[in-house]
Symmetry: D2
Amino acid sequence: MLENDRTQAELAAAGAIQNRSGMDSEGWFEYLVRVYPHHTDYSGMVWHGTYLAWMEEARVESLRSLGIEYAEWVAQGLELPVVQLSLRYHRSVKMGQLVAIRTRMAASEGVRLLWDYEIRSPDTQELYVTAQVTLVGVDRDKGKIIRQLPPALKEALTRLSVKPST
Amino acid sequence: MLENDRTQAELAAAGAIQNRSGMDSEGWFEYLVRVYPHHTDYSGMVWHGTYLAWMEEARVESLRSLGIEYAEWVAQGLELPVVQLSLRYHRSVKMGQLVAIRTRMAASEGVRLLWDYEIRSPDTQELYVTAQVTLVGVDRDKGKIIRQLPPALKEALTRLSVKPST
Amino acid sequence: MLENDRTQAELAAAGAIQNRSGMDSEGWFEYLVRVYPHHTDYSGMVWHGTYLAWMEEARVESLRSLGIEYAEWVAQGLELPVVQLSLRYHRSVKMGQLVAIRTRMAASEGVRLLWDYEIRSPDTQELYVTAQVTLVGVDRDKGKIIRQLPPALKEALTRLSVKPST
Amino acid sequence: MLENDRTQAELAAAGAIQNRSGMDSEGWFEYLVRVYPHHTDYSGMVWHGTYLAWMEEARVESLRSLGIEYAEWVAQGLELPVVQLSLRYHRSVKMGQLVAIRTRMAASEGVRLLWDYEIRSPDTQELYVTAQVTLVGVDRDKGKIIRQLPPALKEALTRLSVKPST
């Protein structure tokens, strides 16, 4: 736990550890979440729709780790809405558990971005959910799919989709 | 960002920084959240009900910092449902912002626990929301309010409500 | 119900009964909701934040019953964000139950609108939640509180706040 | 609508029209929803995860139309969790719109139930989302997949999966 005399610098540091995630040797970006009451349903397990929120959070954090602030891109007129989504629920997750949302850009086809997901226990031994999400670049003003991604985004995504060499 | 050769030990450590929060000199426990698309509504700001989820998360983490695992207490038959709630929305919070959910146990009257909340910018200079929540101890099997809190919980809460000395 | 040969006209009618609500002799506008799994938490009861979504729905429907389409007002630049909120949870509501969200404009002070809420069983005998919500008119472009409500809105709200005579 | 002297009987009737849905000539069960602020995100459109909640509501109502009260089956120990899910988002849906969630049991393979979904404008001319969901019967006490569905449920589902003859 933190100290009683936290300075501004320490508060900034607390913000930094928000990035409690990173990329592993197989190119998975990992984002940890804890299961709180509002994530569960009557079964005491995570409600099946909750995973979509976590997957969105992991995706945004994965982009942030590459210097892409999604909110800023939106402010500048680019959106990346979900156009396709599939999930397989292998095991249910209980209230109080800590789980790792693992994501990896699988491929990009023009302005379509395919992301793979695995939701696992933090030690990666238990597999709870596997999923795939497809995004597409949209011009907010025109309400239309863009022809090509902005170079800065393209370049960042290239870094994301390349598996780290061993 | 993390390394390519993360070991199990490092993954465990990643879990630890989940506790990216702590108590400051005025007794506020602080829990940082980032605003993702699913937290917002058509206005581009946080939807007013989202704060209740964050307040619940901060409360559960505040208890965890004292060794109280809420999910375990629930499994053993004790619940702490919200019986009263009030919020004042001072300023709206935008997508992409990082905000500090600050909570402090204000008082306990028998089995009723009163919690104060402040939602601020991480540097605490901007105030977004102030709130109060009252919980009550309930026996899950009987579906009734308990007469007194279990001693272990009472003791932990005492530590929470005492402002740190300076 | 369950006709095999529903025509477009019948589909339109199905849309009409969406307005499954109205004002009673004490001026309460009533909006019925069913509790589905996603509304509940681990307790099998409605999660305490779910009520805010239902209260918003009832408020929007109450305005619609007076000819005020909230989405259109937003498109034209007026928003009515929540600035204050208080709830008391008297009894919990279980999955599968049908509940009546009852709302009534209590007062308007300039551009501030105060709404009372009661959440009850459909026969009104059981009381689950009482609440109060304050909205304020905001100019979306300027991001500022407006000086006075547009006349059409004011006039509609007058009709809402007047208790029907007996 | 908006009678001043609604009686208890009328209130009960208001509850009845909650079942604002039915089966059309192609076997689609239809459930109408209105888009409220809490369904949207910063884009002013429905957040992509919101559809899962609506699909769950339509599924539960479809079962209810056949006399299957999901909450009662859960209370008796049977659950039907989602084990697989896929969605394609064709067009986005705006705040204020009324949309028809259309569902149809596609097949049942033992204790696995496959449901098709279409989300359309109420006149069925616009297609927003297509989806498929697979459920499986689970014994709540044992936490295991059941060997066969209870006869009453099986019988009801048979009625659901048979397309009405013309």
